[in-house]
């Protein structure tokens, strides 16, 4: 009897010590995966540089817009198109990071909702008053709206520039175009400044294992982006996977046409690079989903998940590479190639959403309900 009492006392005491929330031995973190380092790599080597680069491109696009508006020539239109394309491609590298300020301003919705609503754009231009921050106006702004205004107003360049020079409402067209470019640039600048101005530290410090921790949140954002924006938006929806018929009018870069493949490939590379933790401005890899999975694998001796995911990225890129530069063209000539690409992307979604999420033990719902 006495022994049992002593034993139970020791047991409670031991656990009380073990559970007490102070660890006076901070060095013994060495044997576990350093999530802080992964978050720092994400922030410092990928997210902030990618935003920095995109911010410069958005700013260049804004300048090109101003130049064009002051002097709407074919030459300046082509320069604006080049700047637009460069910025649009560059945007593919930041679209997945819908966290922090980007989440607050609904960055992706403000910059890249397509198909753009051309008739509504015409209406707004005719009315002359519009507020891009309204949620109802997400389909009249961003890159797709610019695409319409610089590529889709007419078939020839001469006709397009006439909207900005000789058209009765030319000033309204110029104003709208200007505000589109400025909004993109301003929003991007806001997001970047937020990252460099303190959010980076908040983000990196939030290593908590809960649904509100940075790792869980960004993982959810990343997977959501990949599933909804990349797989469905860029390929699945236009290929008709979710509808009765293919919807070529829903491709990304509808008016420019020969850009949808480039945007997809850039986005795929960016997602893959983020997965392996590749430095945005170089070829070195830091801590990432890949190294995290590899670390957990050394505990689990399970299947080599990170290699499977990388191989699946390669398979998807391989299919995407076979597509026509214009997805409208591709859908018309051979939509099965679009569907094949979709199938490969879908396999990535399953690997990320089922296998990776399970391995990392990240909850994909935000409901904080009780479990067994």
């Amino acid at each position: 009897m006495k022994y049992w009492k002593i034993a139970s006392l020791l047991l409670v005491l031991g656990i009380a010590i073990a559970c007490s929330s102070d660890s006076d031995n901070p060095e013994d973190t060495t044997d576990s995966f350093d999530r802080g380092a992964m978050l720092a790599n994400w922030a410092d080597n990928i997210i902030v540089p990618a935003y920095g680069s995109f911010n410069a491109d958005a700013s260049e696009m804004k300048t090109a817009t101003t130049v064009f508006n002051e002097n709407p020539t074919v030459e300046n239109l082509q320069a604006l198109r080049t700047a637009w394309k460069k910025a649009y491609v560059s945007f593919q590298n930041v679209s997945m990071f819908e966290i922090g300020k980007a989440e607050d301003v609904r960055f992706r919705n403000r910059l890249n909702i397509y198909p753009t609503n051309s008739s509504k754009i015409e209406e707004l231009i005719a009315n002359g008053s519009y507020d891009f921050s309204l949620p109802s106006n997400i389909d009249v702004q961003g890159f797709p709206a610019l695409d319409y205004l610089i590529n889709g107003l007419a078939t020839s360049d001469a006709e397009i520039i006439s909207f900005y020079s000789t058209h009765t409402n030319a000033e309204a067209y110029r104003n709208y175009l200007q505000l589109l470019s400025e909004t993109i640039s301003t929003l991007t600048n806001q997001v970047l400044t937020d990252w460099t101005g303190g959010y980076r530290d908040t983000f990196v410090a939030n290593t908590s294992a809960s649904a509100s921790g940075s790792v869980d949140k960004l993982t959810n954002d990343y997977i959501l982006y990949f599933e909804k924006s990349l797989r469905a938006g860029k390929v699945g929806i236009p290929a008709g996977v979710f509808s009765q018929q293919p919807l070529p009018q829903n491709v990304e870069g509808f008016y420019k046409k020969d850009i949808s493949k480039e945007l997809l490939l850039e986005a795929l590379d960016a997602s893959n690079d983020f997965f392996i933790g590749k430095n945005f401005n170089g070829n070195t890899n830091g801590q990432s989903f890949k190294s995290y999975l590899d670390y957990l694998n050394t505990i689990k001796n399970g299947g080599d998940l990170s290699s499977l995911i990388n191989a699946q990225f390669a398979a998807a890129k391989n299919k995407a590479n076979q597509l026509d530069a214009s997805f409208i063209q591709q859908i018309e000539t051979d939509n099965s190639k679009m569907q094949d690409t979709y199938d490969e992307l879908q396999r990535i979604v399953i690997l990320l959403k089922v296998d990776m999420v399970q391995a990392l033990d990240i909850s994909i719902d935000y409901v904080d309900s009780d479990g067994d």
Binding site: M1, W4, K5, A7, S8, L9, L11, V12, I15, A18, C19, S20, S21, D22, S23, D28, T29, D31, S32, F33, R35, T207, S208, A209, G213, V241, F242, S243, Q244, L296, I299, K300, G302, G303, L305, L308, V349, I350, L351, K353, V354, D355, V357, Q358, A359, L360, D361, I362, I364, D365, Y366, V367, D368, S369, D370, G371, D372
Partner: protein, 454 residues
Amino acid sequence: MFGTVSRYLNKTTEAAPLAVFRVFFGLMMVLSIFRFWEKGWIDKLYIKPKFFFSYYGFDWVQPIGNYTYIIFAICGIASLFVALGYKYRISIILFFLSFTYIELMDKTTYLNHYYFISCVGFLMVFLPANAYFSVDAYKNPSKAFQKIPKWTVDCIKLLLCTVYFYAGLAKLNSDWLLKAMPLKIWLPSKYDIPFLGNLFQQEWVHYAFSWSGALYDLAIPFLLLYKRTRWFAFALVVVFHVLTRVLFPIGMFPYIMIVSALIFFDAGVHHKIIRSLSKILRVDYQRIISVAETKKYRFTSKIGLIVIALFFMVQLLLPWRYLAYPNELFWNEEGYRFSWRVMLMEKAGYAQFKVVDEKTGNRFYVNNKDFLTPFQEKQMSTQPDFILQYAHYLGKHFASQGHKNVAIYVESFVALNGRLSQPYIDPNVDLMKERESFAHKDWVLPFNDKIKGL
């Protein structure tokens, strides 16, 4: 044999342990309902969703819009009355019915803990838990008793022992013991728990937790029953449940189990508890004691005893019903619920539903977010009965929207306990042609691996 049984049934014991159990159980339920309400879960889980997953045969149990709050209010007030022992019989019946109704509304929220509470509530309907230290007994001394039949206390103990022991048996499988799964997935992700966080990265810790968890569940009934090990066992109960509370989001359950385990102690402990409670509540302990005197409670009918005997027969057999089904239990989940299988699986899934017009071949995919909450979608994607019910819901929904010849197919993948994901439901089966029943669901694709054990 018959003599032993009837002698046992005539044995009496102090009423205090059951009274203390009633008080704590009632209070825990009040807290649970309050917590559930306060966290906004009534709205989130029972009012916001458009569609609810029913238990087979219970599709008539549905939330009733904003009136659902009334059910919770009834449940909370009934719990309080149970704790007080005020109008006990009607209160415990109301508690059992309202609580069980809530649990039956949507099986998305199924937890063994909730099932346990329904079981306890049911048992307590037949027990004289208000015979001592209750408002009923205080107001009407003819209802006050110092002694009650021993079996009435023992059946709470038996239920607790069943829960633990069956939970222990369920852990005797190769995933739990030989692979330390799913703890090997869950523990490393608790890296931010001070001190223990680093230990959780070590493989031996996963095995230590798995094995000691199984051992704990199997041994604790006996350690609690055996007088010499009782205090040690209670310390184990406290440690074990506090630890699970620290590690996993399991709400009130650990506390409920800790206070429930008090029932194993001798009446002396309970008298001390009642004395302390009397002090806190500023009621006269001596007077409470004196109304009960040394009267013995006698049942006027045998019905309660018979019902309880049947109840335990079902309890002991139900967890084995999975043996009647082919294929892997963890994969098909036929006979998984209501069997005290706790924390055995980490299952993640992905299910994409395809609506097909069988005549024209036209098809499109469903966005699950349009119909389900993230929590419902998560539960649905790994459990065949959810998938089937949802498919039928989708079929009816799209047919009512004017779609013709609707067939519903699902492309789904599930990963179980760290294995790579594999296809789950046969993608070539039109789920509209399948019906829910207790029969084996042959449209679930076979599991590519083997899990040995019970």
